[in-house]
């Protein structure tokens, strides 16, 4: 079957689902972007959805209508013809960021400021929109074979790096080979594990790259998108340090970088997307302290931030010069219980702890009420396949008493400084239920030190709190975190039924089947409670809206300033 026939078949399936009302317009856009469907096909699918109650969700799923529209139009339409942003051009946008904790390097960088810096100079095959839809960046289209194990990516034509070198398939292959090499120091190696192995990427011709997967994976485009933040396309001969070799295809070029002060960028005059970026440049200013960063925003030293702590933004909320953009995200702090050790080897005790927590109070205290309630499974409400018929678990002290049946429970909760407030709330709330929690705070270095297969505290302590950045696909949480013997399975939970459901979820392109497998996973996790999830964090980005338009929050705090313009 040819690629076009396959796409038409998927389009027909999506149209059937849309007409039957089984999926929303937003889901149509999302799936269409994953399958790389063309604009006319997507338009016909949306027409099939009709003007139902979800009519506006295609744009309000995120907070940026433009992003949703781009997801649609971008799958095949040449973006180089995009109209310039309204409201004027030029200017330097100043952005506050916490000083990166390590050297900035696209291959290994993992903190917010480092990622933002290389996202300004480099690009991915596919961009991840704030509403989790995909937008072509250096890829023009992507097409799987019949069972989703072989993906063909067509590259955008006419793209050059900022030094004039043209982008070609060999360059893309070299970028992925670098990440997939057994010697790779990149976290992307863990993300690709079990899906894409070394040698799995080939250059079919100058503008076509083929990815041969180790197993069928329907959501593979997410894996080569910005969702895997290290998967930027680098020159073939790229070597660290980044500041000396910041040659990319991105909208900006790096003018200067200082590990203590920040980075300055100017517009890439040879950028492929004609008319973009609207800005003359961007300046990222580093701050050593989050509070000082907010003061910098208030005083006008910076116009926006890369990452923001909701709890610190109260002074900004009432300021008419500022807008705080917000998106619901899939970032989460997981309260992990080791099911292979007392006292958490008993399901009733795990359930009692989960039932003793007041999730709304936690949300109010930690997130100013902006988070979404969790239900002790990994299918966040932001995921289309998230089940809605599992009763929401909430505080019920009578039920806790019944579950404990007079048993005295006490345990030590290990955590690192960023989750300290959450740990203290857990301790206080469980105390009301007669459960004693001893707090065991470690430094972040200590918390993550040690061998991940043997003794690292975040995977081997009886109970702990681990913060996770958002993932666009739920199995990117489920497979490494709760699958039997998985690399980051801190609870040591083992459930063959869940393992099979997770694999089946990844392999199928059928929405109904995905929902069915998601239900199996969520029900098992909610019932067995190896992990407790009280809230899914929202992501915010404050900006000076009296000066700028086009700045948006992103669930992973990624930056896309292509449409930013003076207000």
């Amino acid at each position: 079957m040819s690629d076009n026939e396959l796409q038409r078949q998927w389009a027909a399936e999506l149209a059937t689902l849309a007409r039957s009302g089984r999926i929303s317009r937003r889901d149509v856009i999302r799936k269409a972007s994953v399958f790389g469907l063309s604009v006319p096909l997507v338009a016909s699918l949306l027409a099939a959805c009709g003007s139902d109650g979800e009519a506006s969700s295609a744009t309000d799923g995120g907070t940026t209508p433009a992003a949703g529209t781009n997801a649609l139009g971008g799958t095949t339409a040449p973006e180089g013809t995009a109209a310039p942003s309204a409201g004027g051009k030029g200017g330097i946008l100043t952005v506050g960021a916490l000083t990166p904790s390590t050297e900035v390097d696209p291959v290994t960088g993992f903190d917010g400021a480092a990622i933002a810096i290389f996202q300004l100079t480099h690009e991915y095959l596919i961009w991840l929109n704030p509403d989790f839809t995909l937008r072509p960046q250096l890829a023009e289209s992507w097409t799987p074979d019949d069972n989703g194990q072989l993906w063909t990516v067509a590259l955008r034509q006419g793209v050059t790096f900022s030094d004039g070198t043209p982008l070609d398939a060999e360059t893309v292959k070299a970028s992925f080979d670098r990440l997939l090499s057994p010697d790779s120091e990149s976290a992307a190696l863990s993300a690709f594990k079990g899906v894409l192995e070394a040698g799995g990427v080939t250059a079919k011709d100058a503008s076509t790259v083929v990815f041969q997967l180790a197993r069928p994976y329907a959501d593979f485009p997410y894996l080569i998108s910005a969702n895997t933040y290290n998967a930027v396309i680098l020159p073939k001969d790229y070597t660290a340090p980044y500041a000396d070799h910041a040659i990319g295809t991105g909208p900006f070029v790096l003018d200067s970088y200082s590990a203590t002060d920040g980075a300055k960028f100017s517009r890439n005059e040879t950028y492929w997307d004609t008319g973009k970026p609207g800005l003359d440049g961007v300046e990222i200013k580093f701050y050593k302290d989050a509070q000082a960063q907010v003061l910098g925003l208030q005083s006008g030293e910076v116009d926006t931030q890369v990452t923001s702590q909701i709890a610190l933004l109260t002074p900004i909320e009432s300021n008419p010069d500022f807008t705080i953009d917000q998106v619901s995200g899939t970032g989460v702090t997981v309260f992990t219980l080791r099911v292979d050790q007392p006292p958490f080897d008993k399901k009733n005790i795990r359930q009692a702890i989960a039932t003793a927590l007041d999730r709304n109070a936690i949300n109010d205290t930690l997130s100013n009420g902006k988070a979404t309630l969790g239900n002790d499974h990994l299918l966040a409400p932001a995921y289309p396949a998230s089940p809605t018929d599992i009763p929401q678990r909430d505080i019920d002290l009578d039920k806790v008493k019944e579950l404990l049946a007079g048993e005295q429970v006490s345990f030590s909760l290990t955590f690192e400084p960023p989750t300290k407030d959450y740990a203290v709330i857990i301790q206080e709330q469980l105390k009301q239920a007669g459960i004693t929690v001893e707090l065991d705070q470690r430094t972040s270095d200590d918390f993550y030190a040690g061998d991940q297969a043997v003794d690292t505290p975040w995977l081997f302590t009886p109970a702990n709190l681990v913060g996770w950045a958002g993932r666009a696909v739920p199995t990117q949480f489920i497979i490494p975190m709760v699958k039997t013997g998985a690399v980051w399975n801190g609870s040591k939970y083992a459930n063959p039924a869940l393992d099979a459901a997770a694999d089946a979820y990844d392999a199928t392109t059928d929405e109904a089947e995905k929902k069915k497998q998601a239900e199996i996973i969520a029900t098992a996790l909610n019932d067995h409670t190896p992990i407790i999830i009280t809230n899914w964090s929202a992501s915010v980005r404050p900006f000076n809206s009296s000066k700028w338009t086009g700045i948006a929050a992103h669930p992973s705090s990624f930056v896309d300033f292509n449409d930013v313009a003076p207000a």
Binding site: E103, D111, E185, K288, L295, G296, D445, Y448, A453
Partner: protein, 311 residues
């Protein structure tokens, strides 16, 4: 005097050598793994092991220390594990920043504290004395991060007179708020020391004699009170100078000032051993020099100390 100086320099060298050994040994027992920190928790264990080998962290501690020491004495201070920049450049740049801020703050602190202390001492028991004492103590009792945030909110956010950080691009304007913040923190202690010393000096027999001789108050203060009252506060000023150069961590974080204090803290937290070692030793040298400077001024002011040191 020359022998005294040579003795001091010898002591400094021994102190620095011992310090470097202690710091190196301590970094080996601080929990954490710098390779894991550099690559992040989601990097594979194999990658972390490879990084440790790349940084030489898999070698015996003695060998690591020997390797570092031989590089350091040859002027090769290495590369920061976490920042990827030359340690020499990082440390010297941060030290230059700290010296600039510290010396400006000191230059403001000395006349302010001496003036207030002298006034309070001369007007002992009056409303002026009480006002100076209470206000300066309030300043000292307020932590730097509280007074700093208040200064930022008033002068930077509300009035928009001064920048909210002390980045290089703002030049001297950027240093105004950090300097005020530091002077507020330090002025109470020094003022009280000067005040107490002035009161004690005024009670001395030779002051009474001078007064009986009909000397004017201005001459009395200038010729007898001031010099004799400074001997004790010099120690307090020396302590403040060392704090102003190496201990400004809260102020550096709040005003985003790239000083040696925050560099030391970050290096310790990140187990960035080359940076931590170099910054510790350089700070040690500066502190020793301030000790020597304080002692020299002390000797100049009080001949008894000079005679004692020479004998």
């Amino acid at each position: 005097m020359g022998r005294l100086l040579a003795r001091r320099i010898g002591g400094l060298a021994i102190t620095l050598a011992l310090t470097s050994m202690v710091v190196f040994a301590m970094t080996s027992v601080i929990p954490g793994d710098v390779a894991r920190r550099i690559l992040g928790r989601e990097a594979s264990q194999e990658a972390v092991n490879a990084k440790q080998a790349e940084l030489g962290l898999d070698r015996p501690l003695i060998e690591q220390y020997r390797s570092w020491l031989s590089g350091f004495v040859r002027g090769d201070w290495g590369t920061s594990f976490t920042k990827g920049e030359s340690v020499r450049s990082l440390v010297l740049t941060h030290l230059a920043h700290s010296l600039t801020l510290g010396l400006i703050a000191f230059a403001v602190l000395v006349p302010v504290a001496l003036g207030l202390g002298l006034l309070a001492g001369l007007r002992n028991g009056t409303r002026t004395d009480r006002t100076i004492t209470v206000l300066s103590l309030c300043g000292t009792a307020t932590p730097e991060f509280v007074s700093g945030v208040l200064l930022l909110i008033v002068f930077s956010v509300r009035l928009d007179w001064l920048p909210s950080s002390a980045r290089d691009e703002y030049g001297f304007r950027g240093l105004v708020l950090p300097v005020i913040c530091l002077v507020i923190v330090c002025v109470g202690y020094v003022t009280r020391m000067v005040r107490a010393s002035v009161i004690a000096t005024l009670d001395r027999p030779y002051i009474r004699t001078a007064r009986l001789k009909g000397i004017t108050t201005r001459s009395l203060v200038r010729r007898h009170v001031l010099r004799n009252s400074l001997v004790v506060p010099i120690t307090a000023l020396g302590v403040q100078l060392r704090y102003l150069i190496g201990g400004l961590i809260a102020v550096e974080f709040l005003f985003n000032f790239a000083g040696i204090g925050s560099l030391l803290l970050e290096a310790a937290q990140e187990k960035d051993v080359p940076t931590l070692q170099a910054a510790t030793l350089v700070t040690g040298v500066v502190i020793m020099l301030t000790f020597m400077l304080t002692d020299s001024v002390y000797m100049w002011l009080d001949p008894r100390v000079r005679v004692g040191a020479e004998t």
